[in-house]
């Protein structure tokens, strides 16, 4: 194989992985790994957990050292070294040694750009205040740890992954914490009703949650900052963690005249090749293809970055690996809950005009009679014609990761809801149920597709047609704590005897706690000549849609 001189720019996740892969493919090639920081390959996903104290030692965050990488892989690791320009004509990278100030050039056969992303700092009055910090690398982390030491109050701006993890970290350190999000929900990559349990979990853990609040100014005050909101409210805090998202670090790519994509990332093809065939880009800065929508996307996650690094190295050494796109599988711990997602969400489906149906199930994470089972809420999006699984989201204290992984494979493999019905998953009481939530989701969706059960959604209950009636079939005890406005009540166990109370001219929208009793009720009514629809996910989903705390919904 031809040896090459490869320069990898950026030594975390994608970059470090690409360098190691390149070495395995070509023992004789020259591989230079540049990073502007004095370290490489640190555990950036672990930063919030060291701030919170869950990861006690800072050393644990060092995945590898420049020395270890150099020794094992014989990679020329140059830390504190910034690539400041790429001379594509001369095929040289201009490098600045940040310790000495020296600037020099290195020729290359191929370059892998893995520059990552940088926290967004919107042009708000006062944004340059030293008390406004963001979290991206070890230095940021150290600064935040130093800052929280002397401050008893903090505001986290932004309710995405980092914002949520930081809110948890600060509360773990007993800091009085306000979480500010301009949207009506945290975790914008999930649908709003799936984020509702997170809101209540944040509040339960002492986070002062402020949704739909937009900051208009940061003003310095004694020992702190005053935040002014569009709503006219203000908030005084010691420090602010800004976590409203990241943007791809494209400075070098722009300097080099590489094409950017419509979302502002470095444009690449499925070989990770940029507009210059000798230059590859991977990770947060690269604009990849969304597997679900086919649209360009920026998905700053560690898993895809690693795979992309591998592909770039493969390509450089003559292997035709291709990236099939990112499906947005992700998970986030929020105190005792986790929220996970994969594939298409409803927001995106609507925006992209993708035809879908959705169902919800709420089930224990494992056999309910075995200790430790907690409620798992699962939302499934599927094609209403083919039954193809389009995407899923789940929230709960346990087992979210497992169901998301199973459904991630289903999405990737193009499986249908009928396949979910048949899936043979591992069952013993400590781990699952004989019918797993994934199977159940398949059953429910299959019932819809086979027209064994027609369903409706909370929005339908809010906008009843004149011939529609909401029928709540839960027990009186359950209904006492809440029921959709205007509903009539007949417990499922009495429905057969009380059919005469129903009207053949009406369509009944049936409500129970999770949708199982309503399913049986639908079957009974339909077979007796009535029209009926099941509110999928039942009153629990109804509460989630309404923003209510479903933990207060009693079991029957």
């Amino acid at each position: 194989m031809k040896t090459k001189k490869v320069i990898v720019i950026g030594g975390v996740a994608g970059g470090a992985g690409a360098a190691a892969r390149a070495r395995r493919l070509s023992e004789a090639s020259e591989i230079i790994l540049l990073d502007r920081n004095p370290y490489i390959s640190f555990a950036n996903c672990g930063l919030p957990y060291h701030i919170g104290g869950t990861i006690s030692k800072r050393d644990q965050l060092m995945v590898t050292t420049p020395e270890a990488m150099a020794q094992r892989y014989r990679i020329d690791v140059r830390t504190s070294s910034e690539a400041i320009a790429i001379d594509r004509e001369a095929r040289e990278v201009e490098i600045k040694n940040l310790e000495t100030g020296e600037i020099y050039r290195e020729s290359y056969d191929a370059v892998i750009l893995s520059p990552g992303a940088i926290p967004m700092r919107p042009p708000i009055d006062g944004i340059e205040n030293q008390r406004i910090l963001s979290l991206r690398n070890l230095d940021d982390m150290d600064q935040i740890i130093a800052a929280v030491g002397g401050n008893q109050t903090a505001a986290v701006v932004g309710g995405g992954y980092i914002g949520l993890e930081m809110a948890e970290a600060l509360r773990t350190r007993n800091i009085q914490t306000t979480l500010i999000e301009c949207a009506p929900q945290v975790m914008g990559t999930a649908d709003p009703e799936m984020a509702t349990p997170l809101h209540h979990e944040l509040i339960r853990n002492g986070v002062d949650l402020r949704l739909k609040e937009t900051i208009t100014a940061f003003e310095p005050i004694d020992n702190g900052l005053r935040l002014r909101f569009e709503s006219g409210k203000t908030l005084d805090v010691g420090i602010v963690i800004l976590a409203i998202g990241v943007r791809p670090e494209t400075t070098l790519a722009v300097q080099a005249g590489l094409q950017l994509g419509p979302r502002g990332g470095i444009q690449i093809d499925n070989a990770m090749q940029t507009s210059d065939p000798s230059i590859y880009a991977v990770g947060d800065a690269a604009e990849i293809n969304n597997f679900s929508t086919g649209q360009p996307a920026l998905i700053p996650l560690a898993g895809p970055a690693g795979r992309q690094g591998r592909i770039a190295a493969d390509q450089i050494f003559g292997r035709d690996s291709r990236y099939v796109g990112t499906q947005g599988t992700a998970i986030c711990k929020v105190f005792d809950l986790a929220i996970g997602m994969t594939g298409l969400n409803e927001k995106t489906a609507r925006r992209e005009n993708i035809l879908y149906e959705k169902i919800y199930v709420h089930m224990p994470s494992h056999a309910s009679y075995y200790p430790g089972a907690t409620s798992l809420s699962l939302k499934l999006l599927f094609d209403p014609n083919s039954g193809k699984v389009l995407g899923a989201q789940a929230v709960g204290a346990n087992g979210v990761d497992k169901r998301m992984d199973v459904l991630a494979v289903a999405v990737r493999a193009g499986l249908t809801v009928y396949d979910l019905e048949e899936m043979e998953l591992s069952y013993a009481p400590p781990f699952g149920s004989a019918k797993d939530p994934v199977n159940y989701a398949g059953f429910v969706a299959g019932n819809v597709l086979r027209k064994d059960m027609r369903i409706c959604h909370t929005a339908d209950l809010d906008f009843l047609a004149p011939d529609q009636v909401i029928l709540d079939v839960r027990s009186a005890k359950e209904i006492a704590t809440g029921t959709p406005a205007g509903s009539v009540h007949i417990p499922l166990e009495q429905i057969r005897e009380r059919l005469s109370e129903l009207d053949q001219e009406k369509e009944y929208l049936i409500v129970c706690r999770v949708g199982r009793r309503a399913y049986l009720c639908c079957r009974i009514l339909e077979q007796k000549g009535f029209r009926a629809r099941n509110l999928t996910g039942g009153y629990i989903t109804y509460m989630h849609v309404k923003g209510l705390d479903a933990k207060k919904c009693p079991k029957h």
Copy 2:
């Protein structure tokens, strides 16, 4: 739809599910559910956990009551009612009321047999002793609880699911417990090296583990039993739990003249139909198709039973549901470990002459820098030509169920190891790694298929060819605790400088802890013109194959 009269025989898992499904499909049909016990639908998988005290209340084991089932589903539930004969010509079931002794007949349009299985009791001298108990239903459980109350010593005979769960349950109650297994390993549905960690876990938890011991006689002694072994040894215990497996309960099927399968279960087709088209069979008594081998199989698990019940009901009411076979996905908790499996294992592949290759990975259950990560050992079987995933097994303290479920879907969907490489699974430090063990298994298997890395197995180290040399590339500290006999030692970090010590005429079998350093070493050696093979799974798998406790293998 035509209404029918359906008699379901057996009211647990498959039977209760079939009856409920039948009702949902046909509100007007007559559905009778018979069970010879005074209860139905109990959590049989939970029985050992109530004995051990993990499930504290007996009531928690009642999934539903005859009254609730009757009320909600309008099913004619008849407990303490045994179907003693089926008159296929008259289309009548003969039923005995076990409380009154009354015998009567019920006509039927269709019968669903869900009789379950019964514990095997081999014809060993003294097997009828009252101190020899087995666990199948609530009565058995109550008897065992009563018996262990007065006994401080117990022997569990059989190291399968029930045997292992019972050993744990008894130890949880602080009973001195001996586990006796005639095979050289517990959990016979796993390959032997995957069971090794279970052996050490049992011993660590105070179980007196006796493998390769066959009982020849049970002799009554004062307040107990003496077990005599083929080895000449004896053991005195208070009680014995017999858990050597179950056989299908086919008494009624045989009486009715239904065809049995080659494995002794009730023969059915993929519509769950027996040799009599009006009679269906589901669950532990039904002989189904093994998805991996295409051979008839008895797989007494709750998940498949539930799906089969649904299919039988569908068929009766004119829906052409089909059972695609059972792939043997299963999991068992053994103290702090879990062992899981899906699809083909190596034993079966050998027996059935199915071509396979195997690889092993050992990885932390989630990001190693986040607290609570434990080691997960994963074995993957795949087709060496197509790369199709054939089966997998895993053992570890955490995350076994998740990886087995992902791989169960891969097996079912016919995915390849290349698909495993690409899988986009949920990652955040508390839940996984950016490269999940499933991805890693895909990488390793992909490396084998792409011929980037040749591998070898422990058996190859035991029977070296004259030109083969074992090369251990771990650190001196690691090697100090053990290395394969006859190996030479060069730490990976020194290999490039010490190539002159190697011989181009030899083939090197490279050993490290888990196979990652050996992979890089293979790449270096192959590119330098040497022949090299990686011992897949490294010294950890080597220890597992040798029956050694890999917890004693230090990290580098």
